[in-house]
Symmetry: C2
């Protein structure tokens, strides 16, 4: 363990330098967010011109604060930041978040180097500059200046883009994906993705790690941190294309590097590369609630032949296999199907399939040794009964006995309109991994397969 | 013009053979759907055992009906169907829809051949068997047995899968995509995809054609019909993978054929191949409301650098190009950006971008001769103002002067939660092509590019 970030995410005392009474200022928003958290800590606004802000006693300088400080949030103009860092060193604070922008992202590399020189021989850890800060939903602390209340859960997110980081909170809430921590790394003057991966790997509140990165400082270190991580790491690496890499350079002042090398390296390290943040949440939701796949063989159950074929195509496109049914499973499913309809994989339960057909077919698939994961799908084919479908899904996902016996993932797909959507909201809210397209479902299953492969290599999955 | 399908989609008189008083029967649902339509036509329920059904006088045989019949819907068991076809020939009806299943999809090819023999030397056209029928939203006629009221619009859909066809209606309604006709082709005993493409190509209510196919009878004829079509044709071809092709064979009893050949042929014919039906609607919405791209150069405007990079990557992945800004455009956009922020493509308007910055940047992009289409994106970065963004989008999409002057497409992307989603619903309802992911936006822009290429080849676009 290189550094202890525990007191960074769970500080006993926080100072906000540049705290303001003006609600348009970042230093006001940051202080207010901490107050709204009602997180148990000592909280000190710092502003040379104020005596009181938002009902709190205000100190004129950091060094005026009578007690020790774990975390300092800096919200002053860039040129004053080095002085605040000096004050922080004098005050022996443990961690600094430099929210202020105006550093290497606008070409001002020198100012960043000045701060690096200042902290070199100290124990102080610095996040940023040019960062939103972090939101720690597990412990109820919002140490950022932006809006957004993440739903508590076990996905920890690291974002190089502040705006996208916050967009991710709203998206996660809307998708009912729970978050433990979300942190913007900004220009990565000191605290880097690999430090955070290492911390989240040990963090008991984190089960899945998601990253949005545009560039990393040290590729080898980054890959090693993914490799060493004991939890699944989902990576959205932007700047794949030439034009994207050019835009990356102008966004964070960093080089994107060769994309193929990244892809190969992430794969080799056991990470899961996602195309965008929608896919990241899709896969995160599957990983958070379902066991990984032991092999790549998928059983598909649907009430519409067409949807079954689309799902089969999407699975096979992603390196998964949709095998023929074993004789035993064929017999089991044949019994529950209407006359004239014969079982296959994908199994077509026919348009009017109700609770029992779905439940019995899913169970037969789970029991089949040639199947490593099951996709259960419904299309509102005019005669579908959404409540029957969602009821069966809920039962199969919840049934502990089945999960203990087979430890195979179940994912769901729906195609339809508002009547379905309202029920799907219930399912999402209950943590069910359900997706509105065949492709997204197949990608989520693929994520469970990649994670299964990683665990097998580590000897953690039989 | 081989056949006149006009009286098929707009019949003056309809008979439902197998009409029933029992609400669980298909023959009841089909009759009720026509009644609910309140479509102006003569309507005859046919059932040997009833005198009246749903308030309508019931005839015991087709040949008992005193007036001419344009369209017959057959809802009786498969083995009786040939007799009804004979009655139809005797009665000189124009068109038949065989809703009944139990034909080649369950191995009973002979029964289909029997019907083909019966109609060979007649002018009767037959849809099905094993079809849902059709819904004609443009003329207000529901000649199907399934639920679902499509929103009126100009996309005509042809589906080989009945259940998926209906799922498409619900999905289209939910996405606010308007439909002119939706038709299930079933086993394609007679009326085939190419007949329908030809008809929709001339249909004034149809602007875009979408197909879900698993197999076609005659590949060359199919491709020629796409090539001859004067409107964009979107194709979801299922059964791409080996396992998918196996499932296709069991679903509709047809062979899927080599997938690469399909892809190449669809491309060559000027069609747009979509990965799934979600993508079909995404591209259809863009084609319905936006001009095609003249070239492949995209301008991207965003309030978050990360989102801009993701969009750039997705565009370049799809053969689109995100060029550097011309000096002139650089100057124009530089003026509206905050200090320290420099324009680029993607243009980052910074997190708090309001109406004016969006509007002015979009206008500058439209005016740029090096840009063929514009993507305007917003991520709810904690400080975003959704109403400012959606307001600017609405204005730019609506502003007729701009569209007449530049004829370039504008697509929108959003990343956020419920606060955005409610506004996005307004936008979708107003016909704005807005998408919740960078990939989906880029694919829709790609569709506009492919359509532009087709029109250029045809000499219809300068």
């Amino acid at each position: 363990m290189k550094y202890d970030l525990d007191s960074f995410f769970k500080p006993k005392s926080i100072a906000v330098v540049g705290a303001s009474r003006d609600s348009r200022k970042i230093g006001h928003a940051a202080l207010k967010n901490i107050l709204i958290s009602d997180y148990p800590c000592d909280l000190y606004p710092i502003n040379p011109h104020e005596e009181e802000i938002l009902g709190l006693k205000c100190y004129h300088k950091l060094t005026d604060v009578p007690k020790p400080i774990d975390l300092v949030l800096i919200c002053v103009p860039a040129k004053i930041v080095p002085q605040i860092v000096r004050d922080s060193i004098e005050k022996k604070v443990k961690h600094i978040i430099i929210i202020s922008s105006g550093f290497s992202e606008v070409g001002n590399k020198k100012l960043e180097e000045e701060i690096q020189d200042l902290i070199r021989d100290t124990k102080i850890r610095v996040l940023g500059p040019n960062t939103m800060g972090y939101k720690n939903a597990s412990d109820g602390l919002d140490a950022s200046f932006v809006f957004g209340e993440p739903r508590k859960g076990n996905l920890s997110l690291i974002s190089q883009s502040g705006a996208l980081g916050i967009g991710m909170i709203y998206l996660a809430n809307n998708e009912f994906v729970g978050v433990s921590k979300i942190i913007g790394v900004g220009n990565k003057l000191d605290i880097d993705d690999d430090d955070l991966i290492e911390y989240f790997s040990r963090d008991p509140d984190t089960k899945v790690i998601g990253l949005y990165i545009e560039a990393v400082k040290d590729g080898r270190k980054f890959m090693n941190s993914i490799k060493a991580c004991k939890k699944p790491v989902l990576v959205v690496k932007a700047g794949r294309s030439k034009a994207g890499a050019r835009a990356t350079a102008s966004h964070t002042g960093s080089m994107a590097g060769s994309d193929q090398i990244y892809s190969a390296a992430i794969k080799q390290a056991g990470g899961i590369r996602c195309r965008d943040i929608v896919e990241l949440f899709d896969i995160a939701r599957a990983l958070a609630g379902q066991p990984p796949m032991r092999g790549n063989r998928v059983g598909i159950i649907t009430n519409g032949g067409g949807l079954g074929i689309l799902l089969t195509d999407a699975c096979e496109d992603n390196g998964l296999h949709v095998p023929k049914l074993s004789d035993e499973t064929y017999e089991k499913i044949d019994k529950i199907l209407p006359e004239l309809v014969k079982p296959n994989n994908p199994v077509d339960l026919v348009a009017d399939a109700g609770f029992y057909r779905y439940e019995a077919a899913t169970k037969a698939m789970l029991e089949d040794e040639n199947i490593d994961g099951v996709i259960v799908a419904s299309v509102h084919g005019g005669y579908a009964r959404p409540r029957e479908f969602t009821g069966a899904i809920l039962k199969m996902i919840r049934e502990r006995k089945l999960h203990e016996a087979y430890r195979k993932p179940i994912l769901a797909t729906w195609v339809g309109g508002r009547e379905y959507e309202d029920l799907v909201y219930d399912l999402k809210s209950a943590g069910v991994p359900i997706y509105p397209s065949s492709w997204r479902t197949a990608r989520a299953m693929w994520g469970l397969y990649v994670e299964g492969q990683r665990l097998r290599r580590e000897g953690l999955l039989d």
